[in-house]
C-alpha cells in the first residue's frame, strides 16, 4: 500500500435535484480539493454521525416475505455525478453582454429585432448592464405602464432558496408595483388537470391521492401497468434512483409488470414484464376497447359504478355504439392503436383478473399530447370499473412525493415534518396571482397578435396546475383593462423554445419589434439566450451559499446548509444578486433585501423551516443538516382512495356531486358546444384544434407519429452540453462532421422502407418546420412511430423554420390542448422522416454550419462574442 494521499480538502452539501420552486431532492456530498470539485457522492443520512441513527425513526414495509427499507443514503443518478461539468462548461456566459446592434430606448430603428439570434454580443460591465436595465424598466413604466414587462420565471432547473432561481425578478417588480406574469401551464400533467380533475377532482394536479400507496402496493397489488411511465428515466431529476429501487422491490414481490408505450423504455429494459406497444396518443382507443371487453364479458364492478359514480350510462352508450353508431370493439381499436385485437382482449381480461395499479411519472405517453384530457379521464373510468380504491388498486405516482409540501402527494411513509424554505426563498411565489398574466402556452400568440382592451386575447383558466377544476370555467383576458401589452421580457428561464408548444412561433415572437427589450439571466449561453438583448451571467449552485430542503427523496426529509463549493466562475452572480444589482440602480436595494445578509437569511430559513423546535440553530450550523424523523403511526393512514371505496357517502370526492363524475354536469353546463372536450370521455381522433392522427389529411405528407418524452439524459433542456452523457449511445449520435445530433429512434422496418441506416443524419419535418436528428435504428420503438426526446439545445438553421440541434419543440403543434384548455401539446404529433442531404443543407445554410462547436459539448458561446467588447 502506498501512503494515503489527500482526496479532499473539504466536503460541502448540495441538493442537485431539478424541481426548483424550493422543493429539493438529490442531496449530495461534494468533495473539493485545491479549490476544485473533485467528486460528488451520495448524501449519507447519518452524515458526520451527528444524530442517533434511530432518531430518524427508520421505516420499513414488510409484506409477502420481503422487506422494503428506507435507504441510509441518497440514491444518486448520473446527473449529480456529472453536474460539476455544468459549472465548468465552456458554454458559461462569462460576463454581462449586450447585443451589438441593439440600443436601449425603444427606437424601432435601433432595436434591430430582426437580428435577434443572428447578431453577436459585446462585453459590458455589470454597472453598465444594471443601469441599462434600470433605465429600461423606468422607460417602460412611463411609456406603457409596468404591465409592459413580462416576467418569464417558471420551469425546472437548479433548486435554490436565497438565490431563486426562477422568479427573483418578480420580487423587485412587485415592489415597483406591477408587471405581467407568464403562468406555467400544467406541462407534465396536462391531461390530469384538463380531464381527470373533472371526474375525480384530486387536488393538487388531478392525479390520485397518494397517501400510503407504497405500503398498499407492497401488500396488495398483483399487477402494475407502466402506462407510458418510465421511472428509470423520468424520475432521475426528482429523487435520483429511489423510483428504480421501488420498482425493483415490486419485482421481488412478484408483481406482474405490463409496459404500455410506443417504446420499450428504460424501465422495460431493466425490469421483467410484458411490452404492449401502442401508437403515440392512441391510448384512448385502447382504453375504450378495454371497456368494451369488460362490458360485453361482464368483467367489471357494476355495483361500484352504481354507488360511486354518475353518468356511466353516457360512456357505456358511447362504447357500445349508441351515440355515434360505432362499437368500440378491440378490432376497431386495433386499426387505430396498432395492437392486435386478440392482445387487447387478453390484456383486458388479465387486468380484470388482477388487482392492478397504474403507475405514472409525468410527461410520458399521452399526457402531453393533443386532447390529453381524454385518455386521462378514460384511465379514471377504467380504474373505477375495477373498483377504484379497493386495496392494492388505483394510480401510483413514482416520484415528486410531497409535491407542493402536501401530505396527499406522498405515497411513502409520512414524515413528522414537511420542511419549508419559505424563510429565505426568493423564487416565484406560485400562490401569487397577479392582475396581468398570460398562460405560458399563449405567449407567442399574445406577442404576435393585435390585442387591445377592446379586442383582447381570451382563454379559460388561470392555468396553474394546482387550482380546482372550477377555475377552468373562468375566462381571462390579455391585456386586462387599463394594462399595456408587453414590450419587454425579463427571463430567467430562457428555454421556452425547447420545452413548450410550437417553438418556431416563439422564435418569431422573440424577433418581433413589438418587444423592445429582452433581458435574459442564465448560467449558460443556450436556447432562448440567443434572442436576448442583454445577457447577465448567473452562477451554478456550486458557487453559492444557501439554505436547502430535501423533501422529494422518498426516504427522509431534511434541511441542510449549502456552503459554496467553488468561487464564482467568470463575472457570474446568482439570480438573486442579478436582481439586486438592478435594485441598487432603482434605489430599492434596502427594501428588497429587508436588510438581511446571507447569514441573516439562513437563520430565518432555519427559523421558518418548521424544524426549529427540533434542532437549535447552533446544532444545525455545526452539523450542517437536520434529518427529520418518520412520523409515528404512519402505517395507520388509510391509503389512496380506500375511504371513498369503503364509504363514498361519508368520504366524498371534491367533485360537485362527491362521486366520480364520468359525465360532468359542470362541463356540460359551462361548455355546451365544446365538441373537443365533451362532458364524458371518449376517443378523440382529430378536431378543429388538432389534426395529428394517422387518419388526418396531413398524415399523407407526414406519415409517422413522433413520441417526444422528457429525456433520459437531460432534465428538459438542462444538461444538453455534458460531454460524459454525449458519449452514451442513447444520448447523442455523432455525425461524420463530429456534431452531436439528437437521436431519433426508428424501427428497423420503417428504416428499411425509408432507406435510412443507423447513424444517418435525418430530417424530421412537418408543416411547422424541420429538425435534424441522428438515426438510432432499434426494435425498441414500434413501427409507425419515431422517438426523439425533447429539450436538445437550439441551434437554428433558419429562424422559425429549422434546427440542427434537434430542438423538436419548434415543430410541435402551436395550438393548445383543445378549445377551452390552454395546455401544451408536445407529444404524439405527425412528422415525416427522411435521410438528410447534408451537402445541400451545408450549401443552403453556410452561416449555421460555420458556427463553432466543441465535439464534446456542442455549440459554444465563444462564437457569439465579439472579441474585445466595446471597451
Amino acid at each position: 500500500m502506498s501512503e494515503p494521499m489527500k482526496i479532499r480538502d473539504k466536503t460541502v452539501l448540495k441538493g442537485l435535484g431539478f424541481d426548483s420552486f424550493g422543493q429539493g431532492s438529490n442531496s449530495c456530498e461534494v468533495d473539493v480539493l485545491d479549490g476544485k470539485i473533485v467528486r460528488t457522492r451520495p448524501f449519507d443520512y447519518n452524515y458526520k454521525n451527528a444524530y442517533d441513527p434511530q432518531a430518524k425513526n427508520p421505516w420499513k414495509i414488510e409484506a409477502r416475505g420481503q422487506v422494503l427499507e428506507a435507504k441510509e443514503e441518497s440514491l444518486l443518478c448520473p446527473f449529480e455525478l456529472a453536474y460539476k461539468l455544468r459549472a465548468y462548461s465552456p458554454n458559461r456566459i462569462p460576463f454581462p453582454m449586450k447585443r451589438v446592434d441593439w440600443e436601449p430606448g425603444g427606437d424601432p430603428d435601433k432595436i434591430n429585432a430582426q437580428n435577434r439570434g443572428k447578431s453577436k454580443f459585446v462585453r459590458i460591465s455589470w454597472d453598465e448592464a444594471a443601469q441599462i436595465i434600470a433605465d429600461e424598466i423606468r422607460r417602460m413604466e412611463s411609456q406603457y405602464g409596468l404591465t409592459a414587462i413580462l416576467a418569464q420565471c417558471d420551469g425546472h432547473g437548479e433548486t435554490k432558496s436565497i438565490h431563486g432561481p426562477h422568479g427573483c425578478q418578480t420580487h423587485l417588480l412587485q415592489l415597483l408595483g406591477n408587471y405581467t406574469q407568464q403562468i406555467r401551464t400544467p406541462d407534465s400533467w396536462e391531461g390530469w388537470v384538463w380531464g381527470a380533475k373533472h371526474v375525480w377532482a384530486q387536488f393538487p394536479v388531478g392525479q390520485q391521492r397518494q397517501v400510503n400507496m407504497l405500503k398498499d402496493i407492497c401488500e396488495n397489488t398483483e399487477m402494475m401497468l407502466y402506462w407510458g411511465s418510465d421511472p428509470e428515466a423520468m424520475c432521475w431529476g426528482w429523487g435520483g434512483q429511489t423510483a428504480s429501487y421501488l420498482a425493483t422491490h415490486f419485482d421481488k414481490l412478484g408483481i406482474k409488470n405490463v409496459f404500455i408505450s410506443p417504446d420499450f423504455n428504460y424501465t422495460a429494459a431493466a425490469h421483467p414484464g410484458k411490452w404492449i406497444p401502442v401508437l403515440p396518443n392512441t391510448d384512448s382507443a385502447l382504453q375504450c376497447a378495454i371497456a368494451y371487453t369488460w362490458i360485453t364479458e361482464g368483467l367489471y364492478d357494476r355495483e361500484y359504478i352504481d354507488t360511486h359514480s354518475i353518468g356511466f350510462e353516457w360512456f357505456e352508450s358511447y362504447v357500445m355504439g349508441g351515440i355515434d353508431g360505432i362499437q368500440k370493439t378491440p378490432k376497431w381499436a386495433e386499426e387505430i392503436c396498432g395492437i392486435p385485437s386478440r392482445i387487447i382482449k387478453a390484456f383486458a381480461r388479465d387486468w380484470a383478473a388482477h388487482v392492478t395499479v397504474i403507475s405514472h411519472c409525468n410527461g410520458g405517453g399521452y399526457i402531453r399530447s393533443a386532447y390529453s384530457h381524454e385518455p386521462a379521464r378514460l384511465e379514471v373510468v377504467l380504474l373505477a370499473m375495477q373498483g377504484l380504491g379497493k386495496p392494492g388498486s388505483g394510480q401510483f405516482i413514482y416520484f415528486q412525493w410531497q409535491l407542493f409540501g402536501m401530505e396527499s402527494t406522498n405515497a411513502g411513509p409520512r414524515s413528522s415534518i414537511i420542511p419549508s424554505i419559505e424563510g429565505c426563498y426568493h423564487g416565484i411565489d406560485q400562490a401569487f396571482i397577479p392582475e396581468s398574466f398570460i398562460p405560458k402556452t399563449l405567449i407567442p400568440k399574445a406577442i404576435l397578435g393585435d390585442w387591445s382592451e377592446e379586442n383582447p386575447l381570451r382563454w379559460h383558466s388561470f392555468t396553474h396546475c394546482s387550482l380546482p377544476a372550477s377555475d377552468q370555467f373562468d375566462e381571462y383576458r390579455y391585456p386586462v383593462p387599463g394594462a399595456s401589452t408587453i414590450h419587454m421580457i425579463w427571463t430567467d428561464t430562457p428555454c421556452w423554445t425547447t420545452c413548450w408548444n410550437g417553438g418556431n412561433e416563439m422564435i418569431e415572437a422573440a424577433r418581433s419589434p413589438k418587444i423592445e427589450f429582452i433581458l435574459a439571466q442564465h448560467p449558460w449561453f443556450e436556447n432562448d439566450c440567443l434572442f436576448a438583448d442583454i445577457l447577465l451571467p448567473v452562477n451554478t449552485k456550486f458557487e453559492e451559499e444557501d439554505f436547502a430542503d430535501d423533501l422529494l427523496n422518498g426516504f427522509y426529509n431534511h434541511i441542510f446548509y449549502e456552503a459554496p463549493a467553488i468561487e464564482p466562475i467568470g463575472e457570474s452572480k446568482s439570480d438573486w444578486e442579478c436582481v439586486l444589482e438592478v435594485a441598487k440602480k432603482l434605489g430599492v436595494y434596502d427594501e428588497l433585501t429587508e436588510g438581511l445578509d446571507y447569514e441573516g437569511l439562513i437563520h430565518r430559513g432555519w427559523e421558518k423551516s418548521r424544524c426549529a423546535d427540533n434542532v437549535s440553530y447552533e446544532d444545525f450550523r455545526k452539523n450542517e443538516y437536520y434529518i427529520i424523523p418518520t412520523a409515528e403511526g404512519w402505517e395507520d393512514d388509510e391509503p389512496g382512495l380506500h375511504a371513498f371505496w369503503r364509504d363514498p357517502q361519508n368520504n366524498p370526492l371534491d367533485t360537485p356531486s362527491g362521486l366520480l363524475e364520468i359525465y360532468s354536469p359542470s362541463l356540460a353546463y359551462n361548455f355546451p358546444d365544446d365538441d373537443e372536450r365533451m362532458p364524458y370521455p371518449r376517443y378523440m381522433q382529430d378536431g378543429e384544434s388538432h389534426q395529428e392522427s394517422r387518419f388526418s389529411e396531413r398524415a399523407k405528407d407526414f406519415p409517422l407519429v413522433m413520441m417526444s418524452n422528457h429525456p433520459r439524459w437531460r432534465v428538459h433542456a438542462n444538461m444538453d452540453d455534458i460531454p460524459w452523457f454525449q458519449e452514451i449511445e442513447t444520448s447523442k449520435v455523432h455525425g461524420d462532421d463530429g456534431y452531436p445530433y439528437e437521436p431519433c429512434w426508428i424501427n428497423p422496418a420503417d428504416a428499411a422502407e425509408l432507406g435510412i441506416e443507423d447513424g444517418d443524419i435525418v430530417e424530421i419535418y412537418n408543416d411547422r418546420g424541420m429538425v435534424l436528428g441522428g438515426a438510432y435504428v432499434t426494435p425498441r420503438i414500434m413501427a409507425g412511430a419515431v422517438n426523439q426526446d425533447h429539450g436538445a439545445r437550439l441551434d437554428p438553421l433558419e429562424f422559425g423554420k429549422s434546427d440542427r440541434g434537434g430542438a423538436n419543440n419548434i415543430i410541435c403543434p402551436t395550438n393548445v390542448t383543445s378549445k377551452h384548455c390552454a395546455g401544451e401539446v408536445t407529444n404524439g404529433f405527425l412528422v415525416g422522416v427522411k435521410k438528410a442531404d447534408m451537402d445541400a443543407l451545408r450549401a443552403r445554410y453556410p452561416e449555421a454550419f460555420a458556427r463553432k462547436f466543441d465535439p464534446a459539448t456542442g455549440i459554444l458561446v465563444d462564437d457569439w462574442i465579439i472579441e474585445g467588447g466595446n471597451e
Partner: protein
C-alpha cells in the same frame, strides 16, 4: 485479493459507474497512482448496451467492462522497467511516470481496457480507485451503484457466490479478477393464437429441442399466448407447438442471435 463482482441481472443500465469513473478521474491527478483521464474518450469503467430480439419481444442487456486486474496480466509482461505492478491487494497499476511512451502496455491488453492518452503520452486504465481505498473508501463506481450490481471486496468474502460466476475470455488464461454473475444468454420467444376466433391461445404446450445435444425445453403459453425461453444457446433448434383442439405446428430455426420467432396461428382440428 480484491475483486470486482458484477451481477448483470441487477444492473439497471443507469451508467452511474461509467460517469462516476469520469467524475473521479477526468481532470483529477491522483499521482503516483494515476494521472488525469482526458475529458472524453476513455472508459475505465464502461457500460455497453445491447438490444436483442425483435419488436415486440426484445431484451436490453447491459454489460459493464473494465480492467480485469488479471492474475497473469499481459500488460505487466509487456511493460518495461516494472512500470506495471501489482499492489499487495491485487490491483494492477500502471505507473504514470514510468509508462511514458510505452504503447506496448496498451496493445497487450486482450480486453481493450487500457487507453492511450495522447497528450500525456501514457497508457491509462482503471486503478480500482486505489487512492480512495488507501483513504479507507470504496472505488467511486462501486460507491454510487444503487442496485448492488457492482461490488468490490476481498475474493474470500464473495467466494460462495462465485461458484457459478464467469470471467471474460477465460480461454486466454489471464486470470481476471472481475467476476460476472447472471450473464444474459440468448432467448427464443413468440406467441400462439387462434385466427378464427381472433384469440390468444393460453396453455399451449411449446417445446424447443436443441439440435446440438437434443436438450428439450418445455413451456405453456400465458394469457397472451406468449412463450419465452431464456438461457438458451445459439444454433439449430426445433420448435413445436401443441394445443388441444388445434393442429400442431413445428418450425425449424438456426439462431445466430436471440429471436422473436413470431406469431403462430394454429389451425383448428375439426
Amino acid at each position: 485479493m480484491k475483486v470486482f463482482v458484477i451481477d448483470e441481472q441487477k444492473c439497471n443500465g443507469c451508467h452511474n459507474c461509467q460517469i462516476a469513473c469520469k467524475d473521479e478521474h477526468c481532470g483529477n491527478d491522483w499521482s503516483p497512482i494515476s494521472a488525469p483521464q482526458p475529458l472524453t474518450g476513455q472508459f475505465w469503467c464502461k457500460v455497453d448496451e445491447r438490444t436483442v430480439g425483435q419488436t415486440p419481444k426484445i431484451r436490453v442487456d447491459y454489460h459493464v467492462s473494465r480492467c480485469n486486474h488479471c492474475e497473469n496480466a499481459p500488460c505487466m509482461a509487456a511493460a518495461e522497467n516494472d512500470t506495471v505492478y501489482r499492489r499487495d491487494d491485487g490491483l494492477v497499476i500502471i505507473d504514470p511516470e514510468k509508462s511514458k511512451g510505452q504503447r506496448a502496455i496498451m496493445e497487450a491488453c486482450p480486453y481493450n481496457a487500457v487507453y492511450w492518452n495522447d497528450e500525456l503520452d501514457i497508457p491509462q486504465k482503471c486503478t480500482g480507485c486505489a487512492h480512495l481505498l488507501d483513504a479507507g473508501e470504496l472505488p467511486h463506481c462501486v460507491d454510487v451503484c444503487t442496485t448492488g450490481a457492482l461490488r468490490f471486496g476481498d475474493y474470500e468474502d464473495f467466494a460462495d457466490e462465485l461458484v457459478d460466476a464467469v470471467v471474460m475470455k477465460p480461454e486466454l488464461g489471464c486470470g481476471p479478477h472481475v467476476y460476472y454473475l447472471n450473464t444474459p444468454k440468448p432467448f427464443y420467444a413468440g406467441d400462439v393464437y387462434d385466427p378464427e376466433a381472433d384469440e390468444c391461445i393460453e396453455g399451449a404446450k411449446v417445446t424447443i429441442t436443441r439440435g446440438s445435444d437434443g436438450a428439450r425445453f418445455e413451456q405453456t403459453t400465458d394469457i397472451y399466448g406468449d412463450f419465452w425461453f431464456d438461457g438458451q444457446e445459439l444454433g439449430n433448434h426445433e420448435l413445436s407447438i401443441e394445443a388441444e383442439g388445434f393442429l400442431s405446428c413445428t418450425k425449424h430455426f438456426d439462431a445466430e442471435e436471440s429471436l422473436n420467432l413470431g406469431s403462430f396461428p394454429l389451425k383448428r382440428d375439426y
